[in-house]
């Protein structure tokens, strides 16, 4: 690690009001984690960079940001935790498993190409047993299947046209595992008269940052920002459909990773539905929807909440006639990116998920919608229901 590996935050503004304790999904389900008040500002007062880390429970913070959103004193709690976790994991050393989970972008291309074989393996009980025994990737998790062609390959054969240009940061998962989300995004934007372009892009680096690997995450940011800068400087704005990638680029790149040029990128980077909502605000959204009688429930991912833009997908989907849509009253889904794949954390992840599952059951929807791929994976795992990105429903409301 370089000399000043982690940014510094001030814990002393905490007034111990415990609002954060009311919302933390982890301390709600396990007494092993003392909760944001203690883990963040409380313990921070005793931490010194030169002393070794003493609290292994710091690794249980799922990084949902929910505590930050309720703290009236502006304590950057989840950031304090992330930095302390990074230090703890740097000292303790990370298992090979963590490397694999956070570097999937390196092999996802090959995995997609050989998707038939990879998917067979990923579903194979023996393979899962091996992954569980040797890598501590919990065997009860379904590993997401790969798709071929990838989104990028599909796009290459697609001819996008429109009056104005818009750039799309689609992220790894859409590219190799859920390409229909990418397709739907392109189709909706084209229906609104935008020509979609795909700037060169790499994994945003969030899986690494979430695992406290600042250096690795920064490397990804340093690769992406010049591509994105070039795009916006040519007068084209950028949208993202994954709220996690979006949050990472818009906020973490500058605040936590200090990547030159990231502030400029952030100004021109929008959540897909935020962008559509802006179009509507100016009267430019194509709202020729067909009747769409379907009962759906929408879940707002943690990273969407921390973007601080409200619930734009809900605002837009409510325009679709006869679509019955309810907001799911629950917090974090419990997956936390790679958190829920880890054997030692699987049970915590599932306990958190149970509350979400109960909230979904109360609404009894046909389909669940959410903007984050992690949440989609987790909700499928928890409920067995069909789970889509809201853009897929919006597309279907037009094209049926």
């Amino acid at each position: 690690m370089n000399k000043k590996p982690w940014p510094k935050s001030n814990p002393d503004v905490c007034i111990r009001c415990a609002a954060c304790m009311a919302v933390c999904p982890v301390s709600r389900v396990t007494p092993l984690f003392p909760g944001p008040k203690q883990a963040g500002p409380g313990a921070e007062r005793f931490r010194k960079t030169e002393d070794p880390s003493v609290d292994p429970w710091i690794d249980l913070c799922i990084g949902c940001h929910l505590c930050d959103l309720v703290c009236s004193s502006g304590v950057p709690i989840s950031e304090l935790n992330l930095i302390a976790r990074a230090k703890y994991l740097d000292e303790k050393g990370r298992p090979l498993r963590d490397w694999l989970l956070t570097h999937s972008y390196l092999f996802s291309g090959i995995a997609s190409f050989f998707s038939v074989i990879t998917n067979f393996l990923l579903k194979n009980r023996a393979f899962k047993w091996i992954a569980d025994a040797f890598l501590s990737i919990d065997r009860r998790r379904e590993l997401p299947p790969y798709q071929s062609p990838t989104f990028r390959q599909w796009f290459r054969g697609h001819h996008s046209t429109g009056e104005k240009k818009i750039a799309y940061f689609y992220g790894c998962y859409i590219n190799t595992n859920e390409m229909d989300v990418g397709k739907a995004t392109v189709q909706v934007l084209e229906a609104n008269n935008f020509e979609v372009i795909l700037p060169p892009q790499e994994c945003c680096g969030l899986p690494m940052l979430g695992n406290g690997n600042f250096k690795g995450a920064r490397k990804m940011g340093l690769k992406n920002v010049p591509f994105l800068l070039k795009t916006i400087r040519s007068g084209v704005e950028i949208i993202f459909s994954s709220t996690s990638c979006g949050y990472m680029i818009r906020h973490d790149y500058s605040r936590l990773l200090n990547i030159p040029g990231s502030e400029e990128v952030a100004e021109h980077l929008f959540d897909l539905f935020e962008f559509l909502r802006n179009l509507r605000e100016n009267g430019n959204l194509n709202t020729h929807f067909k009747e769409f009688p379907l009962k759906v429930a929408y879940f707002a991912p943690c990273h969407l909440r921390s973007l601080g833009i409200g619930l734009p997908a809900l605002d837009i989907l409510r325009l679709i006639p006869s679509l019955q849509i309810e907001n799911i009253e629950a917090d974090c889904c419990g997956l936390g990116g790679t958190f829920g794949f880890k054997k030692e954390k699987y049970d915590i992840s599932q306990e958190i998920g149970k509350d979400l599952k109960a909230a979904i059951n109360r609404l009894n929807p046909e389909i669940v919608l959410t903007d984050c791929e992690g949440c989609r994976m987790q909700i499928r795992h928890l409920t067995g229901l069909k789970v889509l990105h809201p853009i897929q429903i919006l597309r279907d409301a037009w094209m049926r």
């Binding site: 007034i15 009001c17 415990a18 609002a19 304790m21 009311a22 919302v23 933390c24 301390s27 709600r28 389900v29 396990t30 007494p31 092993l32 003392p34 909760g35 940001h65 930050d68 959103l69 309720v70 703290c71 009236s72 004193s73 502006g74 818009r250 906020h251 500058s254 605040r255 990231s262 502030e263 952030a266 100004e267 909502r277 802006n278 605000e281 909440r305 921390s306 973007l307 601080g308 833009i309 409200g310 619930l311 809900l314 605002d315 409510r318 309810e326 907001n327 009253e329 509350d355 109960a358």
Partner: protein, 405 residues
């Protein structure tokens, strides 16, 4: 984005204002730096705890209004206070509802073992209200450090016990974790049996206010069935689970009504033009977004949420820099001892009767801005035991007046 009304602050006053405006079909944005103080102070709804025990609240309030012309209640007026309160209670549907005991204040046990006056209480606290006459057992839990049964029971001359928690011996447990456990049938079964074993002639059981977040009445009724006597909740140290239930209910209702609900972000700047505010900038580094509005309501509370900040010489509101009633220089802010009257508690923003901010001469400063909640001057809600009442009444009235404009 443009809104009919932007509300700054997510405490009870801001939430009430948002509800009032959304009910009238307006496009509303509510933005708060955090979740407000509901989980900090509020378990029940105090309106005017200070009035004599047997006085009807209505009579007490109208006398108060006559005697305190500068008080927020006097600006709102008796009828509107009552309208606000019933608008609040209408948000809750059976079985978890708020109610009064008779037509005045009732007394509920506190975590410190005193009986405190309050007005509206949730159904989960009814069995403990005015409970001095009863004989109760107070149950705490080992490892839950925000509630000591002995403290509560002692002064009441009741009995207090602390039960060990199954599964986590020796570990500390938070109020939210305990609430979640309470929602599990198996946990209630174990706890219920334990409590029943420990009863010796008591006719009710008081527990910390952790009877679940989503369906506390079901939890309470099930426990009562298992124990055989009435069960009631007693407020604990923060975070307050009953306060969280109130917050969650507002949030759910407001989002369903299409209100844009932004928690976690502070206003970096208000854009002013003459005597109007055109909108606000919300800063989320590195991005700053502008939201415009026809009208705004400032409901940022006092010092805890940062609604007022104290400098060396003066106290100010960081968003609009409105005049704050200041009781002299800093030496005069505090009383000599902790329990003295501290003049700093009376500071707040000056407004006219329609809750518009005014200067010392009574001239309105911003015509499309109203002020609501504890940030207002002219009250001492801690002493008066009027916090939630002031928040509800002024939140309601500020939104009503704003929409008339």
């Amino acid at each position: 984005m443009h809104y009919d009304l932007i509300i700054i602050g997510m405490g009870l006053s801001g939430l009430m204002a948002a509800k009032t405006a959304a009910e009238a079909g307006r496009k509303v944005l509510i933005v708060g730096k955090g979740m407000g103080c509901l989980t900090l102070f509020s378990n029940t709804i105090d309106v005017l705890g200070k009035i004599p025990e047997t006085t009807r609240l209505r009579d007490g309030l109208s006398q108060w209004i006559q005697d305190h012309p500068e008080h927020p209640y006097s600006k709102v007026g008796l009828t509107r206070i009552e309208e606000g309160l019933s608008s609040f209670t209408s948000l809750f549907y059976p079985p978890y509802i708020f109610q009064t005991i008779g037509d005045g204040n009732c007394f509920i046990p506190t975590g410190a073992g005193t009986m405190r006056p309050t007005y509206l209480i949730p159904d989960t606290m009814v069995a403990g209200a005015s409970g001095k006459e009863k004989k109760g057992l107070i149950v705490g839990f080992k490892g839950f450090r925000d509630f000591y049964a002995g403290y509560v029971a002692g002064p009441l001359n009741w009995r207090g016990i602390a039960l060990p928690l199954p599964e986590t011996p020796g570990q500390e447990i938070s109020a939210t974790a305990l609430s979640r456990w309470m929602e599990k049938e198996s946990f209630r079964k174990t706890i219920g049996q334990e409590i029943k074993k420990n009863l010796s002639g008591e006719t009710c059981v008081g527990v910390p206010a952790i009877l679940g977040i989503n369906d506390p009445i079901k939890v309470k009724m099930d426990l009562e069935e298992k124990i055989g006597v009435g069960v009631f909740e007693i407020p604990t140290l923060p975070p307050s689970i009953p306060g969280m239930r109130i917050f969650n209910r507002f949030k759910e209702w407001l989002i369903r009504r299409g209100v844009n609900f932004l928690s976690g972000y502070s206003i970096s700047k208000a854009s002013l033009k003459g005597k109007r505010c055109e909108g606000v900038y919300i800063h989320h580094p590195p991005v700053s977004s502008f939201y415009s509005a026809d009208r705004l309501i400032l409901a940022t509370g006092r010092f805890i949420g940062g609604g007022l900040v104290a400098g060396r010489e003066r106290i100010s509101d960081p968003i609009f820099n409105l005049p704050v009633r200041q009781p002299g220089s800093q030496e005069e802010w505090f009383g000599k001892s902790f329990f003295d009257e501290h003049p700093i508690h009376r500071m707040g923003i000056l407004t006219d009767s329609s809750l518009r901010p005014i200067d010392e001469t009574g001239e309105p400063i911003l015509e499309n801005v109203r002020v609501a909640g504890t940030i207002l001057s002219g009250h001492h809600c801690v002493n008066e035991k009027s916090r939630e009442g002031i928040e509800i009444a002024t939140g309601y009235w500020a939104a009503k007046k704003a929409m008339e404009q």
